[in-house]
Amino acid sequence: MLHGTVIILTAFAYLGLLFAIAYFADKRADAGRPVINNPYVYSLSLAVYATAWTFYGSVGRAASDGIGFLPIYIGPTLMIALWWVVMRKILRISKQNRITSLADFIASRYGKSALLGGIVTVIAVVGILPYISLQLKAISSSFSILVQYPEIVMPGNAEPQSMREDTALWVALILAAFTIAFGTRHLDAAEHHQGMVAAIAFESLVKLLAFMAVGVFVTFGIYNGFGDLFTRAAAHPKLRDLMTPLGGVAGGYASWVWLTILSMMAIMFLPRQFQVAVVENLDEKHLNKAIWLFPLYMLAINVFVLPLAFGGVMHFPDGRVDADTFVLTLPMAEKQEFLALLVFIGGLSAATGMVIVETIALSTMVCNDLVMPVLLRMRALRLNERRDLTGLLLGIRRGAIVLILLLGYLYFKLAGEAYALVSIGLISFAAVAQFAPVVLGGIFWKGGTRRGAIAGLIAGFAVWFYTLLLPALARSGWLPTGLLEHGPWGVELLKPLELFGLTGLDQITHAMIWSMIANIGCYLGVSLSASSSADEHRQASLFVDVFRHTGEAGGARFWRGTASVPELHNLLARFLGPGTAEAAFREYAEARGHRWPDDALAADAELVHYVEVQLAGAIGAASARVMVASVAKEEALTVDEVREVLDEASQVVVYSHRLEQKSHELEAATTELREANERLKELDRMKDDFVSTVSHELRTPLTSIRAFTEILLEDPKVELEQRRKFLGIITKEAERLTRLINQVLDLAKIESGNADWVESAVDMKEVISDTLAAMDQLFKEKKIEVRAQLPDRVSPVTSDLDRMIQVMLNLLSNAVKFCDAAAGRIEVALTERDGSVRVDVRDNGRGIDPENHEAIFSKFHQASDTLTGKPHGSGLGLHISRQIVEHFGGRMWVESRLGSGACLSFTLPTAGAT
């Protein structure tokens, strides 16, 4: 059944199926209902990492050293754990800057350098050639083997070269045509190839299924499960040592470690991985599922590697059969035709997936970052005149695809035969690992400069070439082997496989160590030794601080120049086609609330940046920069200006946060301050009033004293009567003065809290009686009738005895002053109720206007006598009395109406009550 024709037809049918899936997905994408916009497709597309190397090569490697195939998958698992930090940043940066390829990313980061983009492209193409040739080898070999069914014959021992040659070449050409059909039907501004992604996801499923099918078959079909298989393997002489494969030799572990590191970098920097993980990503959130789905896929596809390897060794004991082919030859040996065909398709799937994606990614880089910049510079004028460049771009890409595949075939012919698949693949890994320092440094370290990147890349690539590619060519006979044995021109220290005498390592590890030293060393050294341009600073900040910059306007800030809208429109149309340009401008206008083309758009920094970004999607950032610059007359910002803008921007963000906080605090503080100020002013006024009043009250009696004293001194001839009168006045005034001073001091002490209060239980009845008795003389003089209503006994109050006397004296003397002049009557009442003692002093004077009921208690209030118009007393007495009463927890108030006397009352809590 397994005729050549059948196999070929099946292969084409499968490829046709892939194409159909891609076509369907592209159609849906154009209609705006993308099929692939979900995390599962995204995760499966990442599995393009597993190529024919995984499918065939792992088993081959496992058969020889047990676990040496595993680091290639464990490394990526570890790296993917870091994707949360690293890949999210790369995704964000790439979305913002419309990055379309790995070369674009690197070039963009280091000041949109076209030179750097070109270098990266060259390294990528040369580095991936071995890998592509690996796939070609796998397909052609598997075909050759299968076609020999039911014989199992290794390709090397089959018919002459011509047929095999043909197989690989044919495969290369067919794949080229297929890839062109897949990836270059039109230009997408964001370099999305949704159809391709759908097809890749599908083929990831197919290869997983095929591998597991044959794995299950061998483990459970040929043997009786894992236990049985491994037990038998342990008994096998060749396999016994592989039960504990790590041997204990230092070289073994070093190899393990470096392979892990290598694969960690490969999963990031293989052009196809960058393409599906970053460029084709439609939603950052898909990353969440991919972070564990993809490692799970890798785990699954490796579960049966060991059974297949050991089973193969046991099945083909005499080493006739290449371990790389076990996956296919085992079912063949067991006459499982259908399974064998399925395996072949699985391997084909794995290989074509890799080739398609890798070649499309590489051709994009070649077109955007290698060819276009050169063309734009060379015949600059003529290119500007061409109205539509889309045809040119597509043509370049198609050419690149064909070229790359042919070069892959060439490598296969020159150097691919002698090596196991895995070894070939690792050479490519080591090549793309050279991108790690410049990319990782680029997104985390602003100090990386363009020159540093160029130096690092060239140094690393040179060492890679010398330690890996040269030996491959030498081993295949294209270079003298003396080179390997004795070094160039006999210089032993420069032996490609043992540079500077570093021995004992396998080739890959050795190459990795030296290339990384050269790469990182030059990158750091050159970056740190020279300063960078304004463009670089801007890009560095955009990349490293991507999570801080908001939106795409970040780039627009750094532009200064003049442009015209029609020019920009034409530019876009030339490269993307008039339809796409129209749509882009309309989108831009609508986002700002205008209508295109009716309303006039401002040709400002934002528009220019927008156009540049759109353009970058088609021709890469560096070329876009050049084209836009030619259209818009740009004024270069100096490095300092750029730094200023950046500093300002970051400071503004910080400040605005602080400002919000501060303004809240400020509001609160201001209100407090205003209130405090008011209070202070009030107090100040009161103080001024007090001082001024006291001063007045003091000076007035002093004036009389002085005047009369002087009169008496001056004039000895004053009459006796007059003299007596005057001296009397002096005395009285002196008394008045003394009284006032005492009261002021008293008040000052009470108010400042320095008064000496002597607390004791005071009997108010006693106080009142004593005071009345003391004033008896005065009452008689003024003919005032006094009546006192005092209970038999009253509870004591906690108070100061002297002060209470002072209060009673004050109230009574006021009553005396103001009671009726002719028939004065004063009534004093003492009562007790509800835990407090109350005293009332009533007079039958004029009464007090209700307006003044509070005012009489204030400082210096002097109720005036209508007769003389002269106030009585100092005005402090009542005030002090009230202060005293309130000090002991009591209250003082007045009840009065004009014309019916006044009653001054106060209460005090009894001792023991609060």
């Binding site: 001024s692 007045h696 003091l698 004036t703 005047a707 009369f708 002087e710 118009g869």
Partner: protein, 134 residues
């Protein structure tokens, strides 16, 4: 400076001084002082009284206390200055308050002098004499 009695000079019309103050003792002192110096003295106990007396016939000099009930010394001073028949009247303001702003206010109102209490009797009489010479 020796006191000059108007009587000594023989034939001079004695000047009339109005004393306006609400403190009775000060009024007594001033009255005695001025009479002894040979001036005719009129007394007012508050601002209203003072103005009434001025209306009846302006004195030659007014001793005006600032802190008076009913009308303050400032008001009285202003009123006197407003009267066309009082152009020659000299005004001395007396007060127990001595702050600058009081002084300036008084002078702004049109007082000729501002004296703070307690004053020197001799000083006051001298001032009055010099004002009334002119």
């Amino acid at each position: 400076m020796p006191l000059v009695h108007a009587a000594d000079c023989g034939g001079n019309v004695s000047k009339r001084i109005l004393v306006a103050d609400d403190e009775p003792n000060i009024v007594v002192a001033l009255e005695f002082l001025l009479r002894r110096a040979g001036y005719e003295v009129q007394v007012a106990r508050n601002g209203e009284e003072a103005l009434q007396i001025v209306e009846r016939g302006p004195p030659d000099l007014v001793l005006l206390d600032v802190m008076m009930p009913v009308r303050s010394g400032y008001e009285v001073c202003k009123r006197i200055r407003e009267r066309p028949d009082c152009g020659h009247v000299k005004i001395i303001m007396l007060t127990a308050k001595g702050r600058d702003l009081e002084v300036n206010k008084g002078l702004a109102m049109g007082a000729d002098l501002y004296v703070t209490k307690p004053f020197s009797t001799r000083d006051l009489v001298d001032k009055i004499k010099s004002l009334l010479v002119a």
